[in-house]
Symmetry: C2
Subunit: 416 residues, 2 copies
């Protein structure tokens, strides 16, 4: 479907003025849930939904939905929904989230202008707190909407100032009632920037995501003995940092080996701490947070098992104790065949597309657990995201949004 | 020299009641410079010096000196000084510092009781802030007294609450005037607990320290590229923590190799940080604080050079940048032959002694830079210090203090 590039650009650029961060390297924004910037972002979004005659509602955690009953539709049928999120990380980019949200709205406006008749209602959606940047829980709004997290628990979450999500939403006037139940959607589609370089490497304008990788998080601790860094001879030490460093390199090697046959497999230690962390004391304990992903649950399990074995080896030859606690596992999720086919069919013959996996979490992973879901990617320059340097050409925004809208239009015509 | 074990024990135990930390594993104390506990520690010390008819003075940074002019001495001759410190780390032990301070005082009392006549005056000393636990600069008092640090700079140092040393000393009434000039001492001796197990391993009651190891501190940074932990394939990463971990293991290997021929050589990474330190972001930068020691300056230089070479290798094969900044070098210092001989001569034939090096810093390292200095060790059980578990048998306290006092007495009789 051919969309209006300028109209889409106007919306994304206007949205980018809220919480704007102007830097030399690019234009960014900081839109934390419940902030003044978030209030203006939401008010503008509601205005634009209403400008297109959509009926707006929002639920108890501030998820916003604009409903369109197209000519010819049965308003009692389960709708096709599409959208994304409008919050950002601190000093984030202007496309991550807004592209999929305003891309969906632009799709509806284009359908309205073409006098299309459809079987099903259509909903344009923006989920609350996808980034988890203020309340620490990513894809929060879709977790509630898909039943993963209760509204009550979500509203009690506190930000760094000890203010709850409920209070923040009340402050900006966006705490509604009830829950948007995504399980009642016939299907869902999301467009997002890739946050990687597979599309630009392939010269493709659209990525059709086949699966979203699962994520396993583990906490590893290595405990040695705190001793005086001067008075303890090298051969009498039980140095937790040296032992921990051996583990960091072992996880890297394991993940590299697995990745030679499973390209999506990754293992990362992004976060760590040392105790007591004093220059002249041999470290007693290190604590690492692991992030392990793949499109295949079994591969993730294998990596965790190999980590356990390597820790046992390290215990033996270094006289330390270790622990590995696997505190989170989100299984990989496959996108629905229906949505994949609709996206493929909606891709113009002269538009290059590739099939790929998503290594980042998205609201679609939650929605996909309860109804048919699809995810599309638009190219991001140099793969940069979460930064003012994030960039997607306006033409690419429109092309990918056109595939999204085309897929949704065809899904909404399929009522059997 | 045979001292009164009970009188020494009484002083150390009374001193241990100030800032007392009673735990299941032992009796500790927290005596931070300028605290209420420190005030009581100092007041008791002054009382005990005065009880022994010593003339007490304290300087601008609170170093306390008790002067005794023994029968027969020329009060204009340069004195022999001995002592240690009375401050502690938080939850420190009751012997670290007080043993050497009250051991010296008990030595004076014993000399007084034996009607000895000596050529030189004798001074009993307690230096301020040896631990650096409140103002961040270890051996502070002796650094000022030996001219390493100016009184003005020292008094301006701030604690964690932003209160200066000057204010803290004023609060407890122990900011005197002028500076105790250790360069005017004929010689200095200190007794300290070993903080290691070489004495207990050898079954020795006294350690005669031949040299104090030097210390080099370096800051190493490794900079890679922050990237999404899910979306960045294993083979496209520039992971600062993985590269840094390789460095930690390399330093360990270098120090182990050097230590096979230089037993005092050690290299430690005790402190480190990760940026941005977020679970799902590949680390952009790690920063490590290195602590490298040996009794030989050249060995320390070699270890630093080998660290530089290893960082170059890591830069090449890991696509990171690195830096190494050597921001502190305290050269190893040899104890004076005069003091070593006096200590050896003062060791009773039935007292087992060994010669060794000190791997920990002591006030004696500063004093030894400007006058003849000697350092003795008493055994510490399991080598534990800076903990309520720190322990030295009272009999061992008295034996080592006796060697100290005997050495000082013979040094004070040598005026030529």
């Amino acid at each position: 479907m051919k969309l209006d590039t300028e109209r889409l650009r106007d919306d994304i650029e206007t949205n980018a003025t809220f919480g704007e961060v102007a830097t030399e390297e690019g234009r960014g924004r900081t839109v934390l849930t419940g902030s003044e910037a978030d209030k203006r972002v939401r008010e503008y979004f509601v205005t634009r939904l209403e400008d297109a005659d959509l009926e707006v509602r929002y639920d108890a955690v501030g998820n916003i939905v604009g409903r369109w009953n197209p000519p010819g539709c049965d308003p009692d049928l389960a709708p096709i929904a599409f959208g994304s999120h409008l919050d950002s990380v601190p000093r984030g980019g202007i496309f991550d989230g807004p592209l999929g949200t305003y891309g969906a709205l632009e799709g509806v406006r284009t359908m309205q202008e073409t006098d299309v008749t459809l079987d099903r209602p259509i909903e344009v959606v923006s989920f609350t707190e996808e980034e988890g940047a203020r309340f620490g829980v990513g894809t929060l709004g879709s977790s509630v909407a898909s039943g993963e997290l209760s509204t009550r628990e979500a509203l009690k979450l506190e930000d760094a100032d000890g203010i709850t999500l409920q209070e923040r939403l009340d402050e900006i006037g966006f705490r509604g009632e009830g829950t948007i139940d995504v399980g009642k959607w016939d299907a869902w589609m999301e467009l997002h920037i890739e946050q990687g370089t597979r599309l630009t490497d392939a010269g493709a304008a659209v990525g059709i995501v086949e699966s979203i990788t699962g994520i396993t998080n583990c906490e590893v601790t290595v405990t040695g003995t705190a001793d005086h860094a001067g008075a303890t001879p090298m051969f009498e030490r039980s140095d937790a940092l040296a032992a921990g460093s051996e583990f960091v390199l072992t996880l890297e090697r394991i993940a590299e080996e697995v990745a030679t046959t499973h390209e999506a497999a990754v293992g990362t230690v992004g976060e760590g701490s040392i105790e007591p962390n004093v220059r002249n004391i041999i470290p007693e304990r290190v604590r690492y947070q692991l992030d392990i992903r793949d499109v295949d649950q079994e591969t993730m399990d294998t990596i965790v098992e190999r980590c356990r074995s390597s820790l046992e080896r390290i215990e033996h030859h270094r006289n330390v104790t270790t622990s590995l606690s696997r505190y989170r596992n989100t299984s990989p999720i496959a996108m629905s065949e229906r949505c994949l086919s609709a996206a493929a069919a909606a891709t113009e013959p002269n538009t290059e597309s590739i099939r790929l996996y998503s290594a980042a979490m998205h609201d679609t992973a939650n929605v996909g657990g309860v109804t048919d879901a699809g995810l599309l990617f638009a190219p991001s320059e140099d793969g940069v995201s979460h930064s003012p340097r994030e960039w997607t050409d306006w033409e690419d925004c429109a092309i990918a949004s056109g595939v999204l809208a085309g897929a949704v239009q065809s899904l909404a015509s399929e009522a059997s």
